[in-house]
């Protein structure tokens, strides 16, 4: 008895405004990843496919997203006609108007498909002696799902839910892991084995607002053998995301920055062509931005997207704002305005008094 578990497809996801034959390139990438996952399932031959939410990127999906899902389900049905598909709506599939079930509800009418969009749903597949509880986002957030229980009469009990797992004692609905043969979760984009039988499969593509955070992790879906209790990861190739090590700008060696930028961009294995790349430069202030002028244009053309992130230089986190400034300021002003031994003390006192008093006033303020 094999299950396939995937989540966070985000069909219809768009980013970076780059188009290929009129369609956003990332939207095409995401649809391709889903189709690739469906194609792999032909070999795995699962009896049940579980899709744990965020199937679309937004509650009013693009027509392309609807077509991609319909095409995937049709392919699956053609290849594996007896396979059941159970889906729950995630937060991205759920319109904020409570009476609106969202576009995913359309697919509930497809043969062999159960798509729970609002209320908790219990599904029983008698041929497989399989009992499943489907908890979509709207149900999870309203705590309607507080009492999800398995069916002790069923051979297999599976929970399919969208939400965030907290350690014991937190809020939300309670799941006793040992009562279920498998718990398929959606919401997190990274693959996480919470327990041996409780898993987040992660997204099929790097679709987060910060794809760099998912750059290293391999993307794909899981299958789970209920008899053996073993999960297997099936990778799905997506568009490469490269997060480069930060470059620290050295004010004493300004010209070095251009060399370093070229080095890091050209050292990317296989080049940056068609990839999503983040270049981080630390400590480069507005006055020195001309150091990278007319340098990036060609690189931007090669990459699908080159994100140049300018950040503050790393410093001690515990330093109070303006502390260094206040210390150095009285020295600088005394040096600039004072006559040694005569006015220097007056100046130093004036500066320190003013800043100390100001600090007391600010600390004491309540707005």
């Amino acid at each position: 008895m094999i299950l396939a578990h995937l989540s966070d497809l985000h069909l219809g996801f768009r980013a970076f405004e780059r188009k290929d034959r009129g369609r956003n390139v990332r939207e095409v990438d995401v649809a391709r990843a889903f189709q690739a996952a469906i194609n792999k399932m032909r070999d795995i031959e699962p009896q049940v496919v579980l899709v744990a939410g965020d199937i679309f990127d937004r509650p009013e999906p693009t027509q392309g997203a609807m077509v991609a899902l319909a095409r995937g389900l049709a392919t699956l049905r053609e290849a594996l006609p007896d396979t059941n598909v159970l889906m729950v709506a995630g937060s991205r599939d759920t319109p904020h108007r409570p009476g609106d079930p969202g576009a995913l509800a359309t697919f509930d009418a497809f043969p062999g498909v159960e798509a729970a969009t609002a209320r908790r749903r219990v599904v029983h597949l008698p041929d497989l002696d399989f009992h499943a509880v489907l908890v979509p986002h709207r149900s999870a957030i309203s705590n309607e799902a507080e009492a999800v229980t398995p069916d002790p009469e069923a051979r297999w009990n599976v929970l399919l839910a969208y939400g965030d797992v907290t350690a014991g004692g937190g809020s939300g609905f309670v799941v006793r892991a040992d009562e279920w043969d498998y718990v398929a979760l959606g919401h997190r984009h990274s693959r996480v084995a919470v327990r041996e039988n409780v898993h987040y499969s992660g997204s099929l593509e790097r679709v987060g607002a910060a794809p760099w955070e998912e750059a290293v992790a391999e993307k794909g879906f899981l299958s789970f053998d209920l008899v053996a209790g073993v999960s297997t990861f099936h990778p799905v190739a997506g568009r490469p995301v490269v997060s480069l090590e930060p470059i620290l700008f050295e004010p004493a060696r300004k010209a070095r920055l251009r060399e370093r930028v070229r080095e890091v961009l050209e050292e990317v294995p296989g080049g940056i062509g068609g990839k999503i790349v983040r270049l981080r430069i630390q400590g480069l202030g507005p006055e020195d931005l001309d150091q990278i002028q007319k340098l990036l244009h060609d690189y931007r053309r090669q990459a699908l997207h080159l994100e140049v992130s300018l950040e503050d230089a790393p410093g001690p986190a515990e330093a109070r704002p303006d502390e260094d400034f206040a210390d150095s300021l009285s020295d600088r002003l005394a040096a600039r305005l004072g006559t040694p031994g005569l006015n220097e003390d007056v100046i130093r006192r004036a500066v320190e008094d003013a800043l100390t008093q100001a600090s007391h006033r600010v600390q004491g303020s309540v707005g």
Partner: protein, 444 residues
Amino acid sequence: MIEQLQGSAPSLGDFRVALTRGMTALACRDGRSRDRIFDALERSLAPATDPLARVASGRGVDETSDGLERAVRLLARRMGLAEVERQLKLIDEGVARQGGREVDAAPGEFSGTLEQEKQSLRQVRADAAEVNGDMEVANMEWLRERQDAETHLMAYRDRARELKVRLQEMESGGAEAPCPTCGKVLADHHARVITQLREEWESIVQDGSWWKRRREQLDLKPPALQDLESRSVRLQARIEAYSKEVVRLRSRSAGSEAEEPPEPDQARETAHHGGEAVVRAAALRALRVELIEKARDLLVTRAGRNLNHLMSGAILGVVQDADGQPIAVRDEGPSPFQSDEEVAAYVLALRVALADLVAERSNGLSTLMIGDPFDRLGREAKVRLVGLLHSLLPRFEQVFLLCPGEIVDLVPERFDSALEFQEGSDGASSVRVIPGGVGRLTLH
């Protein structure tokens, strides 16, 4: 922390709703109603003239160079400028009482060099920007209160007129007159209903009189606003005087460079030759300049970082051109903002930078409000701004985003709660609470 939002808007009527911690979307499709919700939120925070309320709401921090200068002044005040100016004023008053020269030169008493007068001009311009900002806020507040009084007065008059007519009808109809609520003949209840109606009418006339007096009071500008206006005029005169002096010194300097000593430092001269009060004043004046410049550096850098993030790295940062106007830096070099979206992104980047920098230095700023021009951003920049605001939550107890609502569908997991304001079917407003975030499972 703001615990309750209460107000009214033309298309919504009266509204009252509880607010929670975290990030809240206040969704309303009608732009004018959104403005009124924003006003109500700002009023709940503190008086609009409070500097921290202005930071939280971003009032006056707009796309102009004045907007940047106001932001610089607000930050510099949190860094100590207010205290420096207070101490300087005390010294000035002491010097003036002793018949000494005022530290702040009045027009006609110029004695500095070109560089000093340029610095003074910048200082007076910054003061003028701040006063103009305060004046704008006070003026808006006055107009809003006057409009509010007018609206209330009209409503009370209508109601009083309506009650008066009804009373006359009932009095003339006698015991056979119908009940105004259920339509049945009043009979024995006639006298009691008449009394109740008359009491209601009198109460409305009394309240209406209060609003009439209130409206009359507000016919004249409040003294605080008048004071700001006269300060603004005085500062404008000083700007003109300093500008003329700068032009005069510039032409003199160009004509006879040899006569002018190279970059003499008036403050240093004063510090060397003056008494302790004068030395102290010179130090504080130098400190004032340093604080403003430091605030400017911090703000321009942070706003540039934010803009770089919002525009997905297409804009590298922000600098000021020779006229003090903020401009974008791109791969090709500095150039003006090229679209409405870029201008909106810059304004929001600046507001967030200011609030963040002030909050780092103050325990009084725990709320951040973002409204217009959020709607002018593209989809990706909107999502990025919401992410940026979310990252500020450890520092701010509450972040409010006023928006038409589609962002709640785009990134619902980023909001702790969302409130949807809409006109009800009977004309009354309805505020619907949409639970935010994602569901939680506790695993045992």
